[in-house]
């Protein structure tokens, strides 16, 4: 508990020590940590691997971007629509001029999409790899759709060129600091919510599904319901993270939500340690920090590193860094009590 308090204090104190640029980076990483938490709920705790979280993240981001774009255009048609020959604002863009509507959509749309996919798969016991491949196909078609409908979505370039949020300039350091605090608060709220879910009876059933779905079914639970709920919730978290991401980065494009970013999200969780919330969040921050440090100066080396990381984590560190730390701790304790029960991660 003390550790969590210290982490929270550190996050709130960070603006005093970091430059504006670094703070902006940290804020972006914290937004990624929210996705990682959601992903950990379904992968680490329920044993369902989704390679489609980039899409949920992206839809949230687009919802916010649409609001920001309309705000920046100030009543005129957004620039890319004019380039594509649209004369007036499409109907589905219009309500996004309201901030509240955009935020609601940024949560509801990813959740609904996840519910749709979950409804048609989990009920039929389509799971494991089959589900994973379907989520990946979802990524492909969504990104092609976004690229293809350039007049409505900005195509490959995505949506960018924002200036204000709720009247405040996005470029000013004060707004940036404010947005950072909002991100920290949301992260803490999501973390607490995840803790609550994981510790509840519901969370116990999730873990039971991970370890033996059929046994859970025979006991009398309906795993599909649990899987749908947690998948939807996890997508909603990703949507929230996407909205925050756009506020910090100022652009969203299909390449930020495609196959590669989606699978990298899984790697954050895997490196940090699936099945532990703090591990997933730390993994997201750590890996993205490393990426921003190294990928620009050594782009080739970074790809090699990333590829190697996937292999190493799966083969040698199935529980990630948290698992490694746990093992070291356990090793020390062993000398005192030999009969410590070891927790083996089930093969998935």
């Amino acid at each position: 508990m003390a550790g969590y308090a210290a982490a929270a204090v550190a996050l709130f104190a960070a603006p005093m020590f970091l430059s504006d640029f670094r703070l902006n980076l940290l804020a972006k990483f914290l937004a990624f940590a929210i996705v990682a938490l959601g992903l950990d709920l379904i992968w680490g705790y329920t044993g369902i691997l989704s390679l489609g979280h980039g899409i949920f993240f992206g839809i949230g981001a687009y919802a916010m971007a649409m609001y920001l774009k309309l705000e920046a255009s100030g009543g005129r048609l957004p620039d890319f629509m004019g380039w594509s020959g649209l004369k007036e604002l499409p109907l589905f863009w219009q309500p996004f001029s309201s901030f509240g509507f955009a935020v609601a959509m940024g949560i509801v749309m990813p959740a609904l999409l996840a519910l749709f996919l979950g409804f048609f798969t989990f009920r039929n016991r389509i799971r494991g790899v089959y589900f994973t491949i379907l989520t990946q196909a979802l990524v492909i078609i969504t990104t092609t759709l976004l690229v293809g409908q350039q007049a409505f979505t900005g195509g490959t370039n995505g949506v960018t060129g924002f200036s204000k949020i709720l009247g405040a300039s996005l470029a000013s350091p004060d707004t940036k600091r404010m947005l950072y605090f909002v991100t920290v608060l949301v992260l803490i709220a999501v973390f607490v919510a995840c803790r609550y879910i994981v510790g509840s009876r519901f969370g116990k059933v999730l873990r039971a599904i991970r370890d033996g779905e059929n046994r859970v079914r025979f006991i009398g639970y309906n795993p599909a319901m649990y899987q749908m709920v947690i998948f939807t919730l996890s997508a909603a978290f990703a949507g929230i993270a996407g909205m925050l991401f756009v506020l910090h980065v100022g652009i969203i494009s299909p390449s930020m939500m495609g196959i590669v970013p989606s699978i990298e999200m899984v790697l954050w969780v895997a490196i940090g340690g699936r099945g532990t919330l703090i591990g997933a969040a730390m993994g997201a921050v750590l890996l993205n920090w490393a990426k921003s440090e190294f990928s620009t100066s050594y782009p080739e080396g970074w790809t090699y590193f990333l590829g190697a990381m996937f292999v190493i984590v799966v083969v040698f560190l199935p529980n990630g860094l948290t698992g490694l730390l746990g093992k070291i701790k356990l090793g020390k304790k062993r000398r005192v009590t030999k009969n410590e029960p070891t927790i083996e991660y089930p093969a998935m």
């Binding site: 691997l49 996919l117 048609f120 798969t121 039929n124 016991r125 389509i126 494991g128 790899v129 089959y130 994973t132 491949i133 379907l134 990946q136 196909a137 979802l138 492909i140 078609i141 092609t144 759709l145 690229v147 293809g148 409908q149 059929n214 196959i259 699978i263 899984v266 790697l267 895997a270 080739e300 790809t303 090699y304 990333l306 590829g307 190697a308 990381m309 996937f310 292999v311 984590v313 799966v314 083969v315 199935p318 093969a347 998935m348």
Partner: protein, 301 residues
């Protein structure tokens, strides 16, 4: 009518390439419950093998022989991809049996490594492979319908691979062992089948076929380090749609996706066509959750 025939032919042509790619995937998944995300990179390896064969012919053979390099490049790309597959199986895949989701992540990493390796060796830009001149032009079957020889050749190549696979799986000793392991690994092992050998061979052959697919793709356009990634998800959809364990499932899956994709794309546009195909697949899985063909089994998981 003309348009319909042309679209149908295009659909079959797309299906045949998908089939070539998905064959290896379906077999390895059915046999070892391993998802090989690096399969796309094995395609890329096959394509670059063809490129290298072409360059070797350019450099060392009389120019009158150049047209026949493609005949050599097919077995060459099979062999090189086969060896890469064998290496991959022995060094990594072997440790991931029965862990499909983990194997998916690890092999994705391998794919990244191989892609970057190709970028370091051959450079990031695409390279072009000159098709042999005897594949230029096309066959005129109706006044307006011309079927390009290249695509016909690919369909023929795929048919040949399919027949070879059929004989290997259903008519050879190795194939019988493979089917035994697929049905019941423990029992097969008890009866003296070396499951490790079967796994390694099967994985390597699947990789080799991916290599041939890469070779065929050089006919369709320039090739680059990320060649395989365009096809890999579609190929996995073929496996999901077709089911695992039987060749006929994979064939049906590939035909279904290839033909419907072409048709829908013709009727709507490229992006909407993909969405419709995806919705069709999800709808189909409501009816048959394990694909066209499923192996009958009494075990629950």
């Amino acid at each position: 009518m003309d348009v319909f025939i042309l679209q149908l032919f295009n659909g079959i042509s797309v299906s045949s390439i998908l089939l070539l790619i998905a064959l290896g995937l379906a077999i390895t998944f059915g046999l070892m419950k391993v998802i090989n995300m690096a399969h796309g990179e094995l395609i890329m390896i096959g394509a670059y093998s063809t490129y290298l064969t072409q360059n070797l012919f350019h450099a060392y053979m009389p120019s009158s022989w150049f047209n026949w390099y493609f005949v050599i490049s097919i077995p060459a790309s099979f062999l090189i991809a086969f060896l890469f597959g064998l290496l991959l199986e022995v060094s990594l895949i072997r440790h991931l049996y029965g862990r499909p989701l983990d194997s998916l992540l690890a092999t994705w990493g391998v794919g990244l490594l191989l892609q970057q390796l190709a970028r370091s060796v051959f450079g990031a830009p695409n390279v072009a492979v000159t098709s042999p001149s005897w594949l230029n032009g096309g066959m005129r079957i109706l006044s307006d319908v011309v079927l390009p020889y290249k695509r016909l050749f690919i369909v023929g190549l795929v048919a040949a691979c399919l027949i070879a696979m059929y004989f290997y799986i259903y008519r050879s000793l190795e194939g019988r062992r493979m089917r035994a392991v697929m049905q019941n690994r423990d029992m097969a092992a008890c009866l003296g089948v070396s499951t490790r050998r079967v796994d390694a061979m099967t994985f390597a052959i699947g990789s080799g076929i991916a290599g041939i697919a890469g070779c065929a793709l050089t006919l369709m356009g320039p090739i680059g380090p990320s060649l395989g990634t365009y096809y890999i998800v579609d190929a996995f959809m073929v496996v999901v749609l077709g089911g695992v364990g039987k060749l006929v499932g994979t064939v049906l899956g590939a035909l279904g996706i290839g033909v419907f994709n072409t048709m829908f794309e013709y009727w709507t546009n490229a992006s909407l066509g993909k969405v419709l195909v995806f919705l069709c697949i999800v709808a189909f899985l409501q009816w048959r959750p394990s694909g066209f063909v499923a192996m009958r089994t009494r075990s629950l998981d």
